[in-house]
């Protein structure tokens, strides 16, 4: 059962997306802002991270950079998918430069997101 960390500050977004993913068989853990997301990500145990980019305190790009910095030299690499409602040209490149593995926009199209997640998770264990 893949374990997903969802980093999202908007309570309704968290509620909606986590419930939808749970219905698809994922185990979901929640973080509500950047620092919490980084802390939980580094604590380990997740197969993939869904990272909202507009977060208070430190945004998703910065949180991703911190996770990648901490992982450097450890051989660990948790896939991170950036989520953003901005959906502007260049956002994808910006997310990849920060260390994200993929990028998706809000409103979430669930099937599209699931495909991207599946690509990064590989065959279901």
């Amino acid at each position: 059962m893949p374990k997903i960390l969802l980093v999202e500050d908007n309570e309704m977004n968290r509620d909606m997306l986590s419930r939808r993913l749970q219905r698809k068989g994922f185990e979901i853990a929640l973080a509500v802002d950047g620092p919490e997301g980084v802390t939980m990500a580094l604590a380990g145990g997740y197969d993939l991270i869904l990272m909202d980019m507009s977060l208070p305190e430190i945004d998703g790009w910065e949180a991703t950079r911190r996770v990648r910095e901490a992982e450097a030299g450890t051989g660990r690499h948790v896939p991170i998918i950036a989520l953003t409602a901005h959906a502007m040209s260049g956002d994808r490149e910006k997310a990849m430069a920060a260390g994200c593995d993929d990028y998706d926009t809000k409103p979430v199209e669930l099937d599209r997101l699931l495909e991207k997640m599946a690509a990064l998770l590989g065959p279901v264990k």
Binding site: D9, N10, E11, M12, N13, D15, M16, L17, R19, R20, R23, V32, D33, E36, S54, L55, P56, E57, D59, T84, A85, H86, A87, M88, S89, D91, T105, K106, P107, V108, L110
Partner: protein, 639 residues
């Protein structure tokens, strides 16, 4: 500038518009997965379609590549959103009407769809324009390092909510922010918890089954033990009337559910900061109260040293005041102890001398026979003394039924034109002196050509009699006389009255060692104000007179300080500082010689006491202490 003209601002606007759509579309798709009934499926599908229409219109009006948008374009977009928005409102209304009690989760999700649609229409162009700042009011705030954030101190918070998931979310968030949290699921439990614990803040749900939040709020605010705890109401009811009800009942704030975590943090921070400031203010007022209590205790003589130690530890002005106060209180206490010892020594001296009536001498004053009645009011009991002015009697004031002293005045003293009027005005002034070391003058009267003064009657002995009996006094009783005499002069000089004739004969001591100065205001009648009469004859008591007074020069209250110096010199040494066989030789010595040091004549006298007496005896008034208050202060430092 109008509209938005930077890519960042346009991106922020897209974010504000697309975030509610994420919820509308996401919840609808999820609810459709569960919906079985056709009408429900239809309404959900209508909502989803309307949401997707809106998304298309937004993407068309604000494409991802666009770096600017005008006011007109934005208004056109808003107008175009009204129609699909209306469809969402209509469809969700139908869904909510259809909800039964068992569908509470369904109802909650539909309400979220509806509130997201409503939020969509509140998005303003300015939210994009103030990308990094204005956005805080709606969706996803972006903090920068310059943003003024309330530094929240760890607090103990009570969360009251009947929904377990709400409690869990709040507990987690608040704990992560460094607070300690206790959770309860109902109103009664909340009140019980508040009675037992000490909380800095309460987060209180409004709708609860056992006792609703408003009732709990009222009880919290009615209880003196809990009313100062700030309460933030949390509720899905965010209409104006609900919010007003909460505020009117004393809630510090109101947070609509679902709450934005950032706003939650900011409001909790602001609330706790207000409470902290109030706590600081209350503590400050409590400590000011302690200082006032200490001052009252000092006045009552019950102050215990170090009573302000806690306040004195403060680093601010109040702490400094407490430290200074404690030091002063110690000083005052030491001084009082010293004065008490001195008065006790004086009392022993008095007890050793014979308490006797003041000596009676031959006088031309009108004589009043014992038992006679003066002015139909004063019953003469006995003759108790005589002075330069006349006789002194102890009498009973029949009107007030109390003992008084009556001093009759020699007729020839009043012959000088205008003197009687000046004397009367001086007596009027002297009557204003209210001090326990001053014999109170009551009145001046005349009956059958006899002028008389009525005064407070004091049973006691004069310092003159004491010196005549004991020769000289020890240092402690002399200082007791000095302190009390100086205090009486402070009171008189404050009223503008100069005694002009301070001498041992005018200083009366009762059996407890309390000194009272007689004849304030009377000396003017004797002509001692100038020392020398018009015909060059010296009247009064030249041994105690200051040089300027003897020479008829202008003088001020410092003549009383000089006389005090002579009295103290005499008490300490048993002799006068300037002696002579007649008036002229006394004046000559006073002008020519320096007074010997009292310590050279009495080895018990300390150098500092000696120096103070010599300062009082300075020939120039400017060499003396400037005021009687200065003498009081200087006396408090010597022993």
């Amino acid at each position: 500038m109008t509209g938005l003209n930077t890519p960042e601002a346009v991106a922020e606007l897209r974010h504000e518009l697309r975030t509610p759509l994420n919820l509308i579309i996401g919840y609808c798709e999820m609810l459709l997965e569960d919906a079985i009934a056709d009408d429900r499926r239809t309404a959900l599908q209508q909502t989803l379609t309307a949401g997707r229409d809106i998304l298309e219109r937004i993407n068309a009006a604000v494409p991802s590549s666009r770096g600017e948008i005008s006011d007109d374009d934005f208004e056109a977009l808003r107008t175009s959103l009204r129609e699909p928005h209306g469809r969402i409102i209509a469809a969700t209304s139908a869904l909510l009407t259809d909800c039964g009690e068992i569908d509470s989760e369904f109802e909650r999700d539909v309400r979220r769809v509806r509130s997201s649609a409503e939020r969509l229409l509140t998005v303003e162009l300015s939210m994009g324009r103030g990308a990094n700042h204005m956005a805080i009011t709606v969706g996803h705030p972006t903090f920068d390092s310059g943003h003024a954030r309330v530094a929240t101190r760890p607090a103990h918070i009570l969360v009251v909510d009947d929904q377990e998931d709400n409690r869990t979310v709040l507990e987690r968030r608040l704990t992560r922010q460094g607070h300690t949290v206790e959770c309860v699921s109902g109103g009664h439990a909340a009140l019980s918890q508040l009675q037992n614990g000490r909380f800095d803040l309460v987060l209180l749900d409004v709708l609860m089954p056992d006792l609703d939040g408003l009732a709990v709020l009222e009880r919290i605010k009615a209880n003196p033990n809990t009313r100062d705890i700030p309460v933030i109401m949390i509720s899905a009811l965010d209409d104006v009337a609900s919010v007003v009800r909460c505020i009117e009942r004393g809630a510090e704030d109101h947070l609509p559910k679902p709450f934005d975590p950032v706003i939650l943090r900011a409001r909790i921070g602001a609330c706790l900061e207000k409470k902290r400031l109030r706590d600081v203010e209350l503590e400050y007022l409590r400590e000011v109260g302690r200082v006032i209590d200490a001052a009252t205790a000092v006045e009552a003589g019950t102050y215990v040293g170090g009573g302000l130690a806690e306040v004195a530890r403060r680093g601010d002005e109040l702490g400094r005041l407490a430290r200074v106060f404690d030091t002063m209180a110690d000083h005052v206490r030491a001084r009082e102890m010293r004065l008490k010892d001195q008065v006790e020594a004086l009392r022993r001296e008095i007890a050793g001398a014979t308490l006797s009536s003041r000596p009676v001498s031959q006088s031309e004053a009108p004589s009043l026979p014992t038992g006679s009645l003066l002015a139909d009011r004063y019953e003469i009991h006995e003759e108790i003394g005589s002075g330069g002015m006349g006789m002194v009697y102890r009498a009973l004031d029949r009107e007030l039924n109390e003992q008084v002293a009556i001093k009759t005045l020699r007729a020839e003293m009043l012959r000088e034109p205008g003197l009687l009027d000046r004397f009367k005005s001086e007596i009027r002034l002297a009557r204003h002196i209210s001090n326990k070391h001053v014999v109170r003058t009551h009145d001046i009267g005349e009956r059958d050509g006899v002028y008389y003064l009525t005064m407070e009657y004091v049973e006691g002995i004069t310092v003159r009699s004491l010196l005549d009996t004991r020769g000289r006094l020890a240092v402690a009783p002399t200082l007791a006389i000095a302190s009390q005499l100086a205090q009486s002069l402070v009171a008189a000089h404050e009223q503008g009255v100069i005694h002009r004739d301070i001498k041992p004969q005018n200083l009366l001591l009762d059996a407890n060692g309390v000194l009272k100065v007689m004849d304030f205001g009377v000396a003017r009648l004797r002509g001692v104000s100038t020392g020398v009469t018009e015909v060059g004859q010296l009247v009064g008591t030249p041994q105690y007179m200051a040089p300027e007074q003897l020479l008829g020069e202008d003088f001020d209250e410092r003549v009383d300080l000089f006389a005090m110096g002579v009295v103290l010199f005499e008490c300490l040494t048993g002799r006068l500082p300037f002696e002579g066989t007649n008036v002229m030789s006394i004046i000559a010595r006073l002008m020519r010689d320096e007074a010997p040091s009292p310590s050279s004549l009495n080895p018990d006298v300390s150098e500092e006491v000696s120096a103070l007496v010599l300062r009082l005896l300075s020939k120039e008034p400017t060499g003396r202490p400037a005021t009687a208050s200065d003498v009081v202060r200087q006396l408090s430092d010597v022993s």
